[in-house]
């Protein structure tokens, strides 16, 4: 099932609704990279609250999203990783070290707001 992406101001919010196949994940990657360019978005939130499993492919792809969109000027935050899922990721040996994570959508948004403010302050 395709992941809906919502544009909200400078941000894009992708809310994963159901089980993700590998091609759904790749589609999400393409869509986000394309939309960041089109809307000149500054931040991306990927909400994974509904995901009950995150294996090596899914984590690698989320990391890929964060890296690719950073090259296009947007920060990515992954929000809502379930405790069980986080535990399984650690056991598997995966980490999202270099990716921002937040507890929920609200926290993710406030993180992006802070980032955006800092970077515009820096521009002055």
């Amino acid at each position: 099932m395709a992941v809906p992406i919502l544009k909200q101001g400078h941000y894009l919010i992708a809310s994963i609704q159901a089980a993700l196949s590998d091609s759904d994940v790749l589609q999400l990657q393409d869509d986000l990279v394309e939309q960041v360019g089109r809307f000149r978005s500054r931040g991306i939130i990927v909400d994974v609250t509904a995901l009950d499993v995150m294996d090596s492919f899914a984590s690698r792809s989320l990391r890929g999203i964060a890296h690719m969109t950073r090259l296009r000027g947007a920060e990515t935050v992954i929000v809502g990783i379930q405790p069980e899922v986080a535990f399984a990721m650690v056991q598997l040996g995966m980490s999202l070290e270099d990716v921002h994570t937040a507890l929920d959508l609200e926290e993710g948004l406030s993180f992006l707001d802070t980032q955006l403010k800092e970077s515009t302050d820096g521009d002055r």
Binding site: S21, D52, M54, F87, M89, Q91, G93
Partner: protein, 136 residues
């Protein structure tokens, strides 16, 4: 209740189905939600390996009973190219594709038991188990 479920794997939708079936069958044993997630993650890794390296194969899920202790058995089987060096393949970060090389060693860590057999040009079979906590 059936105690064996087969999912043939030849597309990424089948990987999703194997995960779902695995969760369903394991849930009948009273696993914690953490354990269910570990099992499903391991299934996802071996099912994707079938798809990536052997193109097709199957996941067989069944229940096991060892002196009163109940467990879930996951068999991942394919007639693909086989793995030349199992010891190497079981190492963290070893990948012949562009993966992280975590699937096999990770699945072993996620489950209680893990056995792998492979023969060049014949295929690969993985049998892994997780035991449910005793019911009171």
């Amino acid at each position: 209740m059936t105690d064996e479920v087969r999912v043939s794997v030849s597309s990424d939708a089948d990987v999703v189905e194997a995960r779902e079936k695995g969760r369903e069958l394991s849930a009948t044993l009273g696993f914690s939600s953490i354990d269910l997630t570990l099992i499903v993650t391991a299934i996802s890794e071996v099912a994707r390996n079938i798809l990536l390296y052997a193109k097709q194969g199957e996941i067989v899920l069944r229940l096991d009973n060892n002196g009163g202790q109940h467990g879930i058995v996951v068999v991942a089987r394919d007639d693909g190219p086989g793995i030349p060096d199992l010891e190497l393949a079981m190492r963290d970060s070893y990948s012949t594709g562009n993966g992280l090389g975590l699937g096999l060693p990770g699945a072993r860590r996620l489950m209680d038991e893990f056995e792998i057999e492979s023969e060049i040009s014949k295929g690969t079979t993985i049998v892994m188990k997780k035991w449910a906590p005793e019911r009171v």
